[in-house]
Structures are given as structure tokens and as C-alpha cells.
């Protein structure tokens, strides 16, 4: 295995009296594809929000490539190479798909100084090229000139993830990439996303509720329950864990047998 890209130690977050996350200790080697599962409110999104700087942890540390990034602002973390997509696609509805991607590409490669932002053109040759490449990579080039606000849900999701990939991050966090997508389309969408991400050789953490997709795409699964990780391993071992079956995924075998057990 290659070196660790993300190392989370004893991470915790309380909102007042509510403990949203506790005792999370996880290490992720570079280029691993990690699936994150858990019921609603189990702390998956809080976990992602803490890594990306959206939420400040109240306890513990986060290291990214040996840098301590605990509590840094989100844009600084993005600048270091961690990017994310959102459960509800976050796009710019009154710009076209291309302009959305171009904005992401231009921000990704802009110098981090104030003067740099004023002197860099929005449509430099490099950012236009990167935007075009990403549109092709995520197979949304046919929508290039449509207004993003008019796109169907699946295309929005792809655009959102494509924008997160602009600027070549080394770690990408996908918060429910298939939420809001019909069951028939989910697998195809993940196929497009994963082949795009694999071609860039980056580390991916994705939150997912569909266990078939977890089994199909993740190399490793983190199972969250009540703000902490209760199982961590390959999809086969994690999904076979009795606690995971009781608390998160449901007993697959019995369901298949038609016993109709509800947990």
C-alpha cells in the first residue's frame, strides 16, 4: 500500500448537547476508494464537513499528507488538495454548464493572492481546456451550452462532481453522489463518476445508501452509527458484520429469502 493521505485521530463534534461525531479514528492510504455507510443522522455528513472545513471539530485532529488541517477554513483546505461534492448539487444556475466548469477550473488554477484574482482572466486558455476536458470526462459535453438551472438531476450531479474535480484535488469527498437519482440510473451514474475518478488516480471517499453500489465500487467500507465508526474493512467483511446488518444495511439474506424482516 502507498502512503497515508488522510489520517483522522479521535475526532469528535458536539452541537450543544448533541454529539454528532465521537472517537472517529481512520487512516486512508492514497488512491483508495472508500465507501461510507450509515443511517440518517449517523454522522457521515458531519465527518465530511469536518474534513472539508465546513464544520470545526470540537475534539481530535485531521492530517492531510502530514499537514494538520484541523479547523482550517474550507477554501484553504480546498487549496491544499481536498475537494468535495454535495448531497444536493451545488451549481451556478444562471450560468451555462461550460461556464460553471470554467469558473471551477479558473478558481482551481488561480494564484492565491488578491492581485492574482484580479489579474487572472476567467477564460484563460488553460482553464477553458480543463473545463472542456472535464465535460468530456463526465460525459456532459452535449449539455455544454445549456443553462445549469435547467438541467435534469443526474446531469446536475455530474456537473457538481466535475466541478469538484477541477484544479486536480488529491482527495475527493462525495456526499451521496446518487441521492435524488432513480434506482435505474444510479448504477450508470456511478459508472461514469468512478471511471472518471479512477482515470485521475485520486483518493475518493463517498457516502452511499445503496449497498449494491457500495459492493460494486468501494474497496473499503466505513460503517457509521451514532456518530462513530462501528465497522471498517472490505465491503464483504463490513457488510457481513452482524452489527452493520442489524443497524444499517438490514439482513440481506433473509430479505432475499422473502422473510420480510424489518429492522
Amino acid at each position: 500500500m502507498s502512503s497515508l493521505i488522510l489520517s483522522v485521530q479521535d475526532l469528535g463534534k458536539r452541537f450543544g448537547s448533541l454529539v454528532a461525531a465521537r472517537d472517529i479514528t481512520v487512516s486512508v492510504p492514497a488512491q483508495q476508494i472508500v465507501g461510507v455507510i450509515g443511517a440518517n443522522g449517523a454522522g457521515k455528513t458531519t465527518f465530511i464537513n469536518m474534513i472539508t472545513g465546513h464544520v470545526r471539530p470540537t475534539k481530535g485532529t485531521i492530517h492531510f499528507e502530514a499537514c494538520d488541517i484541523t479547523g482550517l477554513p474550507s477554501r484553504q483546505i480546498k487549496g491544499m488538495g481536498i475537494s468535495r461534492s454535495f448531497q444536493v448539487a451545488q451549481i451556478f444556475p444562471s450560468l451555462t454548464v461550460f461556464e460553471n466548469m470554467c469558473a471551477a477550473a479558473a478558481i482551481g488554477r488561480a494564484p492565491k493572492t488578491f492581485i492574482g484574482h484580479v489579474r487572472t482572466p476567467m477564460r484563460s486558455r488553460e482553464s477553458v481546456t480543463e473545463a472542456e476536458t472535464l465535460l468530456e470526462l463526465f460525459r456532459i459535453a452535449p449539455y455544454r451550452d445549456s443553462l445549469a438551472g435547467t438541467l435534469p438531476q443526474g446531469i446536475r450531479k455530474l456537473l457538481d462532481i466535475g466541478m469538484a474535480l477541477a484544479g486536480s484535488p488529491r482527495l475527493l469527498l462525495l456526499d451521496e453522489p446518487t441521492s435524488g437519482i432513480s434506482i435505474e440510473e444510479k448504477f450508470d451514474l456511478m459508472q461514469v463518476v468512478m471511471s472518471a475518478l479512477l482515470s485521475r488516480k485520486i483518493t475518493v471517499l463517498f457516502v452511499e445508501h445503496d449497498m449494491d453500489i457500495i459492493e460494486g465500487f468501494a474497496e473499503r467500507v466505513l460503517a457509521f452509527y451514532d456518530g462513530t465508526v462501528i465497522a471498517d474493512g472490505t465491503p464483504a467483511t463490513t457488510l457481513a458484520d452482524p452489527r452493520v446488518q442489524t443497524l444499517i444495511s438490514g439482513p440481506k439474506v433473509r430479505l432475499a429469502a422473502g422473510a420480510g424482516a424489518h429492522v
Partner: protein, 316 residues
């Protein structure tokens, strides 16, 4: 398209400069004030594109005007270029300072807070005897790098100064709109969270816009003060800000040129209405705005674009 733009802008500049030697005096002084106010409108457009409407641009306008008046009075500076520069810079400093507060607010809260700030300056000026109280101050007669014209020649010199300053401001603002910081106005308006997560500070982007628009308003105020020869606290009153917002709606935020076209149209309509209907001129002005909103929702600027290129006036 860029070449056509350049030709259009260049010919507009030449035509505006040539007009100084053709038009009657009253039209030149009207155009001087209109173009000076156009700078304030240009500043409003900078914010407008990011979804922010300021009802307090009069604060910076007034700062620019009073800076010119006081510099002439206390330091004896008469050079118009220096006066305008100081007027713009003093407004920029004020907008930089209040920007730390204003950049946190959006929508109606932003509009009302900016209005409140301008009314604070109004209150201060009205209460301060040494600054002329409600009477205001007279502005010295400017010189231009040693050249000291009088009467008609002064009128033309001031007009040409305004044209040159407006052209420079238009070029720089146009370049800003195409830069990353400027072009991100629409993303900021659409989705601030996304901009932050792409790695850009929204509050810094907005703060920059506040300083740019404050500086433009300050330069506009300085030029207006030189043209009128007098400043008074009404420059900071909220109706002055409202008038600038009015012109911005009339002009539309589609292009840089729209600010000046809109401002010229506004001043012309107002003079015309005042001459024709001394009792009802506001009604005529209001009707013009209403018709603009109904039939040209993108403002007069969109009309020019449509005539020239048959394309929508869309931001980058």
C-alpha cells in the same frame, strides 16, 4: 466581437470628445454632470452583478465631493487631476473600512445598512458648522496641470476631463469584469457556498467590489463637485442614492457603456420633463422608468447590444 467592441468604444470616445466643440454650453454642462454620475452608476453595476443593491452610494459620492472642496479650501490645491484622485481615494478608504461590516450582509439588509451609513454622514455634515452645515461649501475653480481656463473654456476643459476619466474607468472596469475576481460576480450571486468550496473567499470578493464601486462613486462626486462648483449635505442624502439606483435600473447591468448611456438618458429626460411639465416632471420620469422595466427589463444597455450584435447582453 472584441474588435467590434473596441471600435464601438473608440468611436464613442471620439464622438464624446468632439461634442465639446459642437454642442451648446447648457448641453455640455448637462453632459458633464451626467457622465460624472455615470461613474457612480458604473460602481452600482459592479455590485449589481453580484446581486447587491446599495442604497447608500451617496456616502462615497459625498465623500468625493467634500474631499475636493476641503482640499481646495484648506490646502489650496487647485489641480483638477489631483483633486479627483484624492476624491476617489478618500471614498475608497471609507468604503474599505465600512466594507468590513457591509461585506457580511446581503439583500435588503445590505441595502438598508448602506443607506444608514450614508445618512450618518448626512447627519454629521448638517450638524458641523465648520463644514458649512446645510449651506455646504464652495469649490475652488480648478486648474489643469497649470492651465487655468475661464468661463466657456473651463466648461469645455471640465467636460473633457470627465470624458477622459470616464473612458479610463470604463476600460478598467471592463477588464475587471473579465478577470476571475470580476467574472465571479454571478457565481457569488447564484451560490456562495459553491464559490467558497471551490477555494475562493466570497467576503473578499464582495469587499473588493465595495471598494471599486466606492472609489468610482467618489471620483464621480469629485467631478460633480468641480462641475457644479459647490457641495452640500444633500449629496449624501438617501434620495441621491435612490436616484443612482433609478439610473442603474434604467441602464441595466449588461455592459460598462450602459452606465453612461443610462445616465445621459436620465439627465436628458429630467431636463426635458422639467422644462415641459414643471409641476409634473417626476411623473414623467416615473413613467419612463416604468416603461423601461416593462419593455426593456435588461435596461437601455440591452437595447444597444441588441441593435449592434443581435445578441443578449449576457455577462461572461
Amino acid at each position: 466581437m472584441a474588435r467590434r467592441d473596441r471600435i464601438a468604444a473608440g468611436s464613442a470616445f471620439v464622438a464624446a470628445a468632439a461634442a465639446a466643440f459642437v454642442l451648446p454650453d447648457w448641453m455640455i454642462s448637462l453632459a458633464t454632470i451626467a457622465l460624472a454620475n455615470g461613474l457612480v452608476v458604473l460602481g452600482l453595476i459592479v455590485m449589481w452583478r453580484a446581486g447587491l443593491v446599495s442604497f447608500g452610494q451617496a456616502l462615497y459620492y459625498c465623500m468625493g465631493g467634500y474631499a475636493v472642496a476641503l482640499l481646495g479650501r484648506w490646502a489650496g490645491v487647485t489641480d483638477a487631476f489631483l483633486l479627483v484622485l484624492v476624491g476617489g481615494l478618500s471614498a475608497a478608504v471609507v468604503s474599505f473600512l465600512v466594507g468590513f461590516l457591509l461585506a457580511r450582509y446581503r439583500e435588503i439588509f445590505f441595502a438598508m445598512l448602506s443607506l444608514a451609513l450614508s445618512m450618518i454622514l448626512y447627519g454629521l455634515l448638517v450638524k458641523t458648522e465648520s463644514l458649512g452645515s446645510t449651506d455646504g461649501l464652495n469649490v475652488i475653480v480648478p486648474t489643469f496641470l497649470g492651465y487655468a481656463p475661464h468661463r466657456e473654456k473651463l466648461l469645455v476643459a471640465l467636460y473633457l476631463l470627465v470624458v477622459v476619466v470616464c473612458a479610463a474607468a470604463a476600460l478598467l472596469t471592463h477588464a475587471y469584469f473579465r478577470s476571475l475576481a470580476g467574472a465571479l460576480a454571478i457565481p457569488v450571486r447564484d451560490n456562495e457556498i459553491r464559490v467558497e468550496f471551490l477555494g475562493m473567499s466570497v467576503s473578499r470578493l464582495i469587499h473588493t467590489k465595495l471598494v471599486i464601486s466606492g472609489m468610482l462613486a467618489g471620483i464621480g462626486g469629485a467631478l460633480a463637485a468641480l462641475a457644479v462648483g459647490h457641495v452640500d449635505p444633500n449629496m449624501s442624502y438617501w434620495t441621491t442614492s435612490g436616484e443612482f439606483v433609478f439610473i442603474t435600473i434604467l441602464a441595466g447591468a449588461g455592459s460598462v457603456g450602459a452606465a453612461f448611456v443610462g445616465s445621459l438618458a436620465f439627465e436628458s429626460v429630467r431636463s426635458f420633463a422639467f422644462a415641459m411639465l414643471p409641476q409634473l416632471w417626476q411623473m414623467l420620469l416615473g413613467s419612463v422608468l416604468l416603461l423601461t422595466i416593462l419593455f426593456l427589463p435588461q435596461g437601455l444597455g440591452s437595447l444597444i447590444k441588441r441593435l449592434h450584435w443581435g445578441r443578449g447582453a449576457k455577462a461572461p
